[in-house]
Structures are given as structure tokens and as C-alpha cells.
Symmetry: C2
Subunit: 281 residues, 2 copies
């Protein structure tokens, strides 16, 4: 399964998104049925590793995991939350959905609101969109001056290096869909009254900037991989997207290899206290 992780991980150097097939299942031999089964098969190990990490965090540990989900509209961030992040115990997960910044948020540095949403020790934090919007839509739609955008790439690397140094494993995923697949998914939303709420006419406006967005992603992916690598996950196949993100989370947790904390009390003494106790009435 870790061959998926290797296959989707970006190394250093230029990125050509057009050369990465959005409909592929790199590093995986199976199909939709086996993909769903293989994801389900991760459930118990994911849950146990997550609980160990949570236990570690409750007993003085400082480590955590942060999943960063980026992708064009309809690329499946919500579906990934449901199907993959949904495998975890919700008690140990903290999801933050980043929208257009509020006035207060805009009055601060772009990393201010991100800093406040970082996972506590022991938690799996999930960013549904992230600080990367500040070099993606901000670049494409010129929401900040060019020199400010330039500054942000290095600021992001420094920020993520600090997270990593502080014990956070940062797992960055770009869900990669094609313009044709997005069109299909937007049409599906328009064909289903239970999905109208997910549609915004502005989503079609943004398609006029498709090439600019792809380029902005390429620049961001190239310039921000130093502290934590990027993964480009072909996302036309929803089952592969779910499986790939699950695989990366499993790999991250296995890498941390959290252990059940030892007792910081005398177990026999505490047992004796309970056994000798006059029962409360």
C-alpha cells in the first residue's frame, strides 16, 4: 500500500500537473471494489494508532498530525473528510474549513488564522483548504500585491518547518481533477436538487481561470515542499482519492509509532485502594 504513497509524493524540482493523469491510480493494482475494501481494512490500525497518539498527547506528548487538503472546486475535499477522515474516532480529530478571510482575519498576517487552528498534541488536525489559498486564489485573482505573494512562499516553508520541529507531521495533499471531470461534477450538481446547495454560479466563473490556477498550484507545489512534501492525488476516481489519503495518514501514524503511555502511578497500589475502599452509597 505504501507504493501509493511513494507514487503520489512529489520530489524537488519543477511540477507539471498536465503530465499527471487525474484518472490514474498510481502505485495501486486494484479496482474500485478492492480499493474500498483496502481502505476499510485500514480502519482498525488507523483507530489504534490514533488512540495511541491521543493517549500520548494526554500524558505530556507534543506530537500531532496535520492533514492539509487542497484542490479545485469539486475535487472531493468533502468526500475525503467523510470517507477517510470519518474512519477516525471523532474525539481525536479537529477539522477546520477555511473560507474567504473575515475582516478581522485580513487585518492580520495570513498565517494568523492558521496558527489558531493548529491541532493540539495528540490530535489529527484537518485543514479543508488552508494557508495555500493565500498563494492560489490570492495569486490568480490578485487579492494581494505580487511581492506579498512572493514573500508568502518562504513564510509558508518557515511556518511548516516550525510545525515539523515542534512534533507535527504535516501531510499535504492536492486533490487533482481535470477540467472535464469538474464540468461533469458541476453538471451532476445541477441535475440533482439535493446538490443545488453545493453549487455556486461563481464556480463556473472560476473555470475561466483554470490554467492560471493550475499554474499557481505548480508554483506553490514547487516552492513549498521543503519542510513537508506535497502529494498530488489523482482525484477523478473517488475511491482512489479516499484510499490514497487513507494510505498517507496510515503511513504518517506508523512513522510516529506512538506507544501506550506507561502508568505514572503505582498500579498495584491503586488497585488496592479500590479493592479496600468502603463503597460509596
Amino acid at each position: 500500500m505504501s507504493s501509493i504513497a511513494d507514487a503520489v509524493r512529489l520530489g524537488p524540482g519543477p511540477v507539471d500537473l498536465a503530465a499527471i493523469d487525474t484518472d490514474a491510480a498510481p502505485g495501486y493494482d486494484g479496482d474500485k471494489v478492492s480499493g474500498a475494501a483496502d481502505l476499510e481494512a485500514m480502519r482498525d490500525e488507523l483507530a489504534e494508532l490514533q488512540e495511541r497518539l491521543f493517549a500520548e498527547g494526554k500524558t505530556g506528548g507534543r506530537r500531532s498530525v496535520l492533514l492539509v487538503l487542497q484542490g479545485m472546486d469539486t475535487s472531493g475535499k468533502g468526500g475525503t473528510l467523510r470517507h477517510t477522515v470519518g474512519l477516525f474516532d471523532p474525539q481525536g480529530v479537529r477539522i477546520t474549513s477555511f473560507k474567504a478571510p473575515t475582516e478581522e482575519e485580513r487585518s492580520h498576517d495570513f498565517l494568523w488564522r492558521v496558527e489558531r487552528a493548529l491541532p493540539e498534541p495528540g490530535y489529527v488536525g484537518v485543514f479543508d483548504r488552508s494557508h495555500y489559498e493565500d498563494v492560489l486564489i490570492a495569486r490568480v485573482r490578485e487579492l494581494a500585491p505580487a511581492d506579498e505573494i512572493e514573500r508568502r512562499y518562504d513564510a509558508i516553508v518557515d511556518f511548516e518547518q516550525r510545525l515539523v520541529d515542534g512534533g507535527t507531521t504535516v501531510v499535504k495533499c492536492m486533490l487533482h481533477v481535470s477540467a472535464a471531470e469538474q464540468r461533469k461534477r458541476l453538471l451532476a450538481r445541477l441535475g440533482d436538487p439535493t446538490k443545488f446547495w453545493k453549487f455556486n454560479p461563481g464556480d463556473i466563473d472560476e473555470r475561466a481561470y483554470w490554467a492560471a490556477y493550475q499554474q499557481a498550484y505548480e508554483v506553490a507545489l514547487e516552492r513549498t515542499g521543503q519542510a513537508a512534501p506535497w502529494h498530488v492525488i489523482p482525484a477523478d476516481k473517488k475511491w482512489f482519492r479516499n484510499l490514497a489519503v487513507g494510505t498517507l495518514l496510515l503511513e504518517a501514524l506508523r512513522g510516529l509509532d506512538p506507544q501506550w503511555p506507561a502508568a505514572d502511578f503505582d498500579v498495584a497500589e491503586q488497585r488496592a485502594r479500590l479493592e479496600d475502599e468502603a463503597p460509596p452509597r
Copy 2:
């Protein structure tokens, strides 16, 4: 299934917790196996109602659900989060675990930190412990003057009435275990190295105050049911606890009966835009 809800809901008047059997399954005829199956059978309806509420919240709706979980140590708040709250799409859930207040929190009114944790429109918020600690442990361990504790009961009712008036359905559950069951669960933690981290010698100290805690619960349950009723859920049987909380959440969502939002755009026009578009390259 709604007979469970009726059976665990408190009406007005004095509360005698000793008279409520912690090992019962009120309003339910089945056993552990059917209880787990009946909970699982709620999954699809819970998920759809939750998504409708979420959709409503994304399109201008103001309604939300807030589940308040209270109970003695080992009563199963964590298990309820995992097994019942875990049925929801994590995207629409916001869990807050309230610990002993920080210095900053103590410098404000006791409801300050609670206010900041309220669910946004469309969300299911979950409080793992809550503002009720401020009339439970605070009363038993005299963490605040008696007249301040007195003041808090009415303040809580006013606060919850404001939530309800603002569109939040508040579902309050006390997970009710016996002292004997708690002893068994604490001994189980001491007998399993994967559970040592959940144990704290202070948990045994608190058992000396068991009767005082039960009394503090009785006073709280009696005095704070006006805006949102309390439910006392027998929690010695974990499967019943999970099923009962699931039933209450399902009932709350059915009561809201959220509808898929209508399109606030011309569907045909948007379809035509996509169909006529020069595809992005």
C-alpha cells in the same frame, strides 16, 4: 424507538437518581445485539438529516444541534463520541472537550468559554462536559462561593433559552452509572496497559464525594430543564447508552426536518453556461 426518548426524558419536579436503575434499558425491548443493529440502522437517516441541516446552514439557515454530554468519570462520554457521534459526517460536527478552566477562562464569567464553543448554523455541536461542571464539581469541591453557584442555575436557563430562541436544539444527556459499575471500570483500566493513560489516582479520591456529586446532579437536573429538558441515560450497558443518545439525536434532527435548499440561481441557465463553455485547457 422514540419510546426510549420518552422513557429517559425528565419532566419537571424533583429528581431521585437512586430510583433510576443504571443497568436498565428503558423504552427498549431488545438486547445488546439488536441494540447495536438498531443504532447502525439509524446511520443513513442520521447522515441525510445532518447533511440537510448542513446545507441549510450554508444557505442562510440559522439552526443547529447541540449535544451536551455529562456524567461521572467512566460513564462513557468518550465511547458515546466514538460510537454514536461517529455515525455523522465529521465535516458537520464540532466537538469541544471542557477541562478544568484555564486562568484566562476563570477570569471571565463561567459561560464565556461555552459561548465561544457553540456550533455554527448547520452544525452538530457536541460538548464533552460543559457549563454544568460549573454547578457540579464547582459545588461539590466548593470552587466558587455558594451564592455564585446559586446564581448559575438561572444563568444557565437564560443562556439555554437564548440558544433555543436562536434556533439551536439542545439535547442534554446525563450518562448515569452506578458507583459499583464505576469501580469495575476503573479496575478494568488498571488491569489493561492500553488503558493506564485514562486512569488518574484522583478518580478514586473523587469517589469519596460520590453522594455529593449525585446530589449536585439532582439539583442541576431539577433546576435547569426549563429551556431544554434533561435526559438521564442508564449507562451501565454501553450498547444502550449508544442507542439512547443516537435515538435522541435522530429525534432532534427529525424535529428540525431540514429541507434541501432550493436553488438561488436559474438551474437551466447555469447548465447552458457549462454546456456552451469553451472547455478550459
